[in-house]
């Protein structure tokens, strides 16, 4: 079988200048020097922060409506859809007589992958992903956020549908009549 191609020759002994390593060193230092005059790319993180986009998916949080009411009605859709099963809800009755509300609403932030499915699935627009992207914890227990903490993270979002005010308007008149009956019975 004939040989194909030629074997590579060992490189010969380099010249005197090459053997001093000076050209290679100068070449390397020239690259270093050139980089010193390029624009600096480092973001000095704790002092300088990044401009977070509006639709950024950070940690999830519960919101209140403009009446200060917890918008969540404990329908368990987010708990059902959550891929890493980070949400745990326990429902309770609330005094409007129509909807229920969450008694316990825990999100395990270590499990949460900020996918946004909970925000997408929520029929009451009660859970949103905030733009918070830098949170750490020193224990597992600390990273389970309870209802109060989630509500304080979420803050208030105005409700465009005004479902609750209509409900409470009806509820107010009903309770008014009930109150009147109670007064009459007295």
């Amino acid at each position: 079988m004939p040989l194909v191609g030629h074997p590579v020759r060992r490189p010969g002994r380099p010249g005197l200048l090459q053997r001093t390593y000076l050209p290679s060193i100068l070449k390397g230092m020239w690259i270093t020097l050139r980089h010193m005059f390029r624009p600096k790319v480092t973001m000095r993180y704790p002092e300088e922060t990044w401009r977070v986009p509006e639709n950024y998916r950070g940690l999830p949080a519960l919101v209140r409506d403009d009446g200060g009411r917890v918008k969540c009605v404990a329908c368990f859709l987010c708990e059902y859809v959550c891929p890493p099963k980070a949400i745990r809800i326990e429902a309770q009755e609330i005094d409007t007589g129509v909807e229920k509300g969450p008694r316990v609403f825990d999100i395990n932030m270590l499990r949460c992958i900020m996918c946004g499915y909970c925000e997408e699935v929520c029929p009451e627009q009660a859970i949103f992903l905030t733009r918070e992207y830098s949170t750490v914890g020193v224990s597992r227990k600390e990273m389970i956020y309870d209802k109060e903490k989630l509500l304080s993270m979420g803050g208030i979002r105005p409700d465009p549908i005004k479902k609750w005010s209509r409900l409470t308007g009806a509820g107010a008149s009903a309770s008014g009549t009930r109150g009147a009956e109670r007064d009459a019975s007295r």
Binding site: R44, Y45, L59, I113
Partner: protein, 169 residues
């Protein structure tokens, strides 16, 4: 020469006024050692999945963890003192993670980076360790899937605070 002259001058001034504080800084040994430890964390990159990409981004020029003295990523556990577990720890990989942690010299710390390493993440199945804290002691948990490099930098800053309060032994 100027240095020794300044020292002599300062010593003379101390003899005159008794202001030792003007040229001597005193500290406790524990604080001094903690200062040294926290500002030269040498991470052992335990990159097991996609979180390792963000770990690389943290070391890269844009985020540049060298500003916190933790840029010397050592791939040899004998030269590292901070293990950053980045990614899904499978049950097959767990003995290796444990062994590498055991090979690191004391004092050593562990950052659990990302949902998978912290608590298993979306993978609640037979193949995954549900949290690397079941095999090694974790100091700081960084949530996210994956966490941003800023988040990990914040985790390192938190760890530095923790080291600052640690005792000497």
């Amino acid at each position: 020469m100027t240095g020794s002259a300044a020292t002599r001058e300062a010593a003379a001034r101390t003899e005159e006024t008794g202001e030792l504080d003007s040229w001597v800084m005193t500290t406790r040994l524990a604080d001094y050692v903690a200062w040294g430890r926290k500002n030269s964390l040498w991470p052992m990159p335990m990159g097991l999945a996609c979180c390792a990409i963000e770990l690389m981004a943290m070391v890269a020029p844009r985020y540049d963890v060298a500003r916190f003295g933790a840029e010397a990523l050592r791939f040899s556990p004998r030269q590292a003192d901070l293990m950053i577990v980045a990614g899904t720890v499978t049950k097959k990989m767990a003995p290796a993670v444990k062994r590498i942690f055991d090979q690191m010299p004391e004092p050593k710390w562990v950052i659990s980076m990302g949902a998978c390493a912290s608590i298993g993440g979306v993978f609640d199945n037979y193949a995954l360790v549900q949290g690397v804290d079941q095999i090694v002691p974790v100091d700081v948990y960084v949530p996210g899937c994956p966490p941003r490099p800023e988040s990990l930098i914040y985790g390192i800053v938190q760890l530095q605070r923790k080291i600052d309060h640690q005792k000497l032994t």
